[in-house]
Subunit: 287 residues, 2 copies
């Protein structure tokens, strides 16, 4: 058992201590903070590095407006996702196959590896640790739901039904006795900012006890999780402080969300900032 040190990629800093103490307090039999197992719901934003934000992303705004020129003019990380998210009239099967192909073949330009190897090892360890203590883990991301589901089980151990993301409605058709679901842009739901608690309610129907975000897009989810919760809760925010191994930013006008409002609120809300540079021994596998 790795239980003696379930988070080997985490240095012995304040975040590891906060996490270990929280999990112990809410899972130890007889603890005053014990949370019954069915209520141990953890929502983590464990997206692919460089996966685009749907809400704020100018590319998505362009896509929503049908501005294909802008889309094609920008060779943006995750353009494939944006195009496919907006690729109306594609069946879900074809979409899933194209995502699967892309994620296994495309390489991240900076980290020079397939995108599905650009995931944070400390996050994967944390997910496994929480599950070993009876937590049910969910991904709640601004990314396209149909874009994430083909690989989240393999990469994070999180099955499709525990992935909540942005989505449009699908339309059912029987084509020569073959049932298909066709993607549309109707009732588009953007699972970001105020949409996150809404998505959590719609899919899961109960308040989480633990939320881990990394940007202002997660502020509403962190509020929803940690304020007025009948159970002891924990709010964590990954702070991108590591320019060498990953990125360092608070304001990020590019593809990923800024961390300004949520960081400003963290002290009064009791949210804990995880300092990537100082607290993670390893970021990605093999480096």
């Amino acid at each position: 058992m790795a239980e003696s040190n379930p988070l080997p990629s985490w240095l012995d800093g304040p975040s590891k201590k906060v996490i270990a103490e929280y999990v112990e307090a809410v899972t130890r039999s007889g603890s005053p903070d014990l949370i019954p197992e069915p209520a141990r719901m953890a929502q983590l934003r464990v997206r692919l590095e460089a996966e685009p934000e749907v809400g704020d992303n100018p590319m998505v705004q362009a896509a929503l407006k049908g501005d294909v020129a802008t889309l094609l003019a920008n060779h943006h990380h995750g353009l494939v996702e944006v195009l496919t998210l907006t690729h109306s009239e594609m069946t879900t099967e074809d979409f899933s196959a194209s995502v699967d192909h892309w994620i296994r073949t495309a390489r991240h330009p900076r980290f020079d590896r397939p995108y599905d190897q650009c995931t944070y090892r400390p996050m994967r360890e944390l997910l496994a640790f929480l599950r070993s203590r009876g937590f049910k883990t969910f991904i709640v991301s601004g990314g396209g739901q149909d874009f994430m589901r083909p690989w989240t089980e393999r990469v994070y151990g999180i099955p499709p039904e525990q992935v909540v993301g942005s989505r449009g409605r699908v339309r059912y058709e029987l084509r020569n006795d073959r049932p298909v679901l066709v993607k549309t842009m109707e009732s588009l739901f953007v699972d970001d900012r105020e949409g996150k608690p809404a998505g959590i309610h719609e899919f899961i129907g109960r308040k989480p006890v633990l939320a881990f975000g990394n940007s202002d897009g997660d502020k509403a989810m962190l509020e929803y999780t940690t304020l007025d919760n009948p159970y002891r809760s924990l709010g964590l925010i990954l702070h991108h402080t590591d320019a060498e191994r990953e990125y360092a930013y608070d304001v990020n006008p590019g593809s990923t969300g800024s961390l300004v409002e949520a960081k400003a609120d963290a002290p009064k809300r009791g949210w804990h900032l995880v300092d990537m540079k100082e607290e993670w021994a390893t970021v990605f596998d093999g480096g």
Copy 2:
């Protein structure tokens, strides 16, 4: 263990045999039809007796049109649900509390018992049997999702996150540092007919292997489950044939769905009709 007879309320008829053989074939180690445990997804329509259909229900149509006069003029089963489903601007907490109160206090006019005791015992046995064999069980109903979730875990052992139903979008607000979700009628999704496979995809993200319905509203779900499935699948339809203990109908212009198209398709699709009168030893608890 009741494993020697996991379905005591089912008489030894063709349906019990079909179910037992299917479950054995897809769960026995070494079987050519073995389904890996994560893919054992079963969608059952295990609604409350007399819970209104959302899609076809004239009351819901009235509600959607804002026709309050029609709503109030009809003392319809489940009026509370219809009113609350359409009760925009109510918080999800208040809604849940009102459902909880209603279901514990209102009594079914014919069966003279609380509504949450009007559930089919054979269905609850089947759910427990499937779960004992590694199936993950879901409710996929035309009923309001927020209406079902407060009691499905207690009554059926199905947690809120495995209940898919009709719904409107909710809006997140922070009111004096208290997070609330406000029900709206925006992006109304009716989880019936062609909406069922769409709802299953949106929530669960993979095709079920077993579906159990009881009306034409389930036809698309049965097609989606049993046609073009890489795994061996099973489609079951509850046939209401028991006027004495429950109801007997095919065409039902009232509150619940008719069973005409799905019944007509059953032979060519291989769907199995469960004859309530002939095959269920017990319908409700205690009678």
